[in-house]
């Protein structure tokens, strides 16, 4: 795994023209900007104790998913994502524009597999009481499973719901694979637009972190943050991540396409690179991030780094070693503020980078260890980093449009 496949430096300039955020901090760009500047964090240490999660801030779903029937056909992660996707389309000014939506390409980074906790628990209890006849499981599942739950479990049905609710139908692809899926969604969509294979795309993802079945999966690997919340860099011996809840979507398009329809850009998506370090030896993540940094393109001017560092080890310490080699770039860990939204963390980082560039500032640090420092004056470049808690590394360069 020595070579790096990246989207080529854009031959066609690609702009971020729409941002949709619906997270634990609320919905919309102004709400987020205000909360970030107030260092507000919405964290729940009690409901799932000892596990810590960032709960989704409720919204009026009807505003983006008008049909109750559609809302009922989805589970929470799909409602969150479909809602955020709608915000992104609104932000880009293409909501309801049938001509554009019909040729808009979509790359969604998704998990899936949501369980019906009561059905699972009941079956396991009955089995514990000696119900072990052949076919017992079959009969219970045939009786107990809601037929529509399947549609909430399928990874590609977030994209399916976005197509149904918002009419995005140019093409629909769903990438799976935890954090790397979010990086690759941006990488492939950018590469296609840069090469003229596409004009406009919707990219992003969503997660509902308030899920015990998801906590079980990460507890297998000992990744859940327990007992007491702390910023990502200050977790020390209490390593791990608090699952986050939220949807982050972006509309990206060629500069020419944006200009032709009079769209205003938030920022330029200049390049996205990704790779897979083997992680068999310590130091490989640091080295891979260094390599990606060099692949990213010219870093000049006033820059910052927004990282999705998870708090899981050894990935976070290795990433910190990389960051300490680049002291000129003020760092912000999105995981401190939003928790870890897995597939969504990288699109979330892109969204916050584009928002910050468009507002001419980055939000204040939230880190008692001193890795994050204040930044004065407007940034011209923000590097977004996505280091997977277990596998996968990615990086993007987002730039201000002068």
């Amino acid at each position: 795994m020595n070579e790096i496949k990246s989207s080529k430096p854009a031959t066609t300039e690609v702009w971020i023209t729409g941002i949709g955020l619906a997270t634990s901090l609320g919905e919309g760009l102004d709400t987020h900007w205000e909360a970030l500047n107030q260092r507000r964090i919405n964290v729940d240490e009690k409901t799932f104790a000892p596990y810590i999660v960032h709960p989704w801030a409720p919204v009026n779903l009807d505003k983006q998913i008008p049909k109750k029937g559609d809302q009922r056909q989805m589970e929470a992660w799909q409602r969150i994502g479909t809602y955020a996707a709608g915000l992104a389309l609104d932000s880009a000014g293409v909501k309801g524009n049938a001509e554009i939506l019909a040729r808009m390409d979509m790359v969604v980074a998704a998990g899936g597999g949501e369980r019906d906790l009561a059905v699972d628990s009941n079956i396991l209890n009955l089995e514990a009481k000696g119900n072990s006849a052949p076919g017992f499981l079959n009969k219970r599942l045939m009786n107990d499973l809601r037929p529509t739950l399947f549609l909430a479990q399928l990874s590609n049905l977030l994209a399916g719901n976005i197509a149904i609710v918002h009419g995005v139908t140019g093409s629909s692809r769903t990438f799976m694979g935890e954090e790397a899926a979010g990086v690759d969604a941006a990488r492939i969509a950018l590469a296609r637009i840069a090469a003229g294979q596409s004009d406009i795309a919707l990219i992003g993802g969503s997660q509902n972190g308030e899920r015990k079945d998801l906590l079980v999966l990460y507890e297998f690997g000992g990744f859940n943050l327990k007992d007491k919340f702390a910023p990502v860099w200050a977790r020390g011996d209490n390593a791990g991540f608090a699952l986050g809840s939220g949807g982050a979507f972006l509309v990206i398009e060629s500069k020419a396409h944006a200009l032709a329809r009079g769209a205003k850009p938030f920022a330029r998506l200049t390049s996205v690179v990704a790779d897979l370090a083997s992680r068999h030896r310590s130091g490989e993540i640091t080295a891979k991030l260094e390599k990606l940094w060099s692949e990213l393109g010219v870093i000049e001017g006033k820059g910052a780094i927004f990282t999705g560092a998870t708090g899981a080890e050894p990935a976070t310490s290795e990433e910190r070693a990389f960051l300490e080699r680049h002291p000129g770039f003020p760092v912000r860990a999105t995981g401190t503020i939003f928790g870890h939204t897995m597939e969504t963390q990288f699109p979330l980082g892109l969204a916050l980078a584009a928002l910050s560039l468009s507002r001419g500032a980055i939000f204040p640090p939230n880190d008692p260890t001193g890795l994050e420092v204040a930044m004065s004056g407007p940034p011209s470049q923000i590097v977004v980093i996505g280091t997977g808690h277990w596998r996968g590394e990615g990086m993007a360069l987002v730039e201000a449009i002068k």
Binding site: N138, G177, A191
Partner: protein, 426 residues
Amino acid sequence: MTATRDKFGRPIVVVTGMGVVTSLGAGKTDNWRKLTAGESGIRTITRFPIEGLKTTMAGTVDFIPVEPFSSTDLCERLGEVVAEEAIAQAGIGARGDFPGPLYLAVAPVEVEWPQRQELGRAIGPATEVNYDAMLRVSGGGRFTRYHHRFMFGSVANHLAETFGTKGSPISLSTACASGASAIQLGVEAIRRGEAQAALCVATDGSVNPEALVRFSLLSALSTQNDPPQAAARPFSKNRDGFVMAEGAGALVLESLEAATARGATILGIVAGCGKLADSFHRTRSSPDGKPIIGCVRNALADAGMAPEQIDYINAHGTGTPENDKMEYLGISSVFGERTREIPVSSNKSMVGHTLSAAGAVETVFSLLTLEHQRIPPTINYDIPDPAIPFDVVPNKARDARVTAVMSNSFGFGGQNASLILTREPV
């Protein structure tokens, strides 16, 4: 000198290696022999108890053992087998050093019942089982392997390491169009000049009780259990659903230029890819057929070909009442008068529906059709559906002159994809 770019100036994308596993067997030779003999790989399920199920047959792959069994482990193993076959045929790179990216279509990964039951046992009979109790026993390193196993990216990571593909491997799902989408991602990367070769793999090993029940509850599966070989009846009047199946397909794609330069044997061309999403319903196609029509037209336009140039259609042909009807509407709208003449057959009548793998499995079969100039049949075609007057190549394979094949995939969530494969550059 042969031109290495197509009429649109893009690098021509060729296939230099193929691998396939289905319920008929492992490898191209075995599969092709049985496919053209009209054999069925569908059997009564023996992997788990079938009491209480409405559908009791499937196209399982039981001849490649995985211990302990999980659908994800089988998925991974099948992916390995087909990638190995494809890379060996292509003779590309060095062992464990494939010179390009991996695009993997894979069934969504989930913790399965055996693992959940293991947690139940770990909790013990004295305590009520619920997710809080499961959480209490999940940590401490006892089940670390299940974290690694049930990450969505785990199969792609494993294949990327085994075959030494380059960069970040992509795991994708577009439901039953996934296999076609994986190939399309490879085609696009080569056309962009980003890669000279790509390994496109699609794999599915999902025949387990819950997966079967899920499709059953959506009334998507055939319940004609006896005899199992006769359950899959694409385009027949008495079709009543698809048959779940396992399998995998792999293609080594290269630019014509790179393949020619290294003297590789060229097995076929991926001339065009089309896709279009449907926003009508989560499990049903738009009744006007527009998304399917648009998808097929997009594939023709991408290849720069006219409908008259297609000699054979490798249908999605699941055997559900809905799919086959909509596929006829879509095809007949594009192909017009020629619809009755053009052979349209469904491999799924024999191998079942390999779900995430289907698009790649059927692309391999389409390329074998071009190679052997022989069209595999649609078996179990005893009662034609008068509403679908396709020439389905009923029950017996047929020799034919085939220069261009269209392979269609249509999936839940409005996922449509069509590929056009040819013998020679067009």
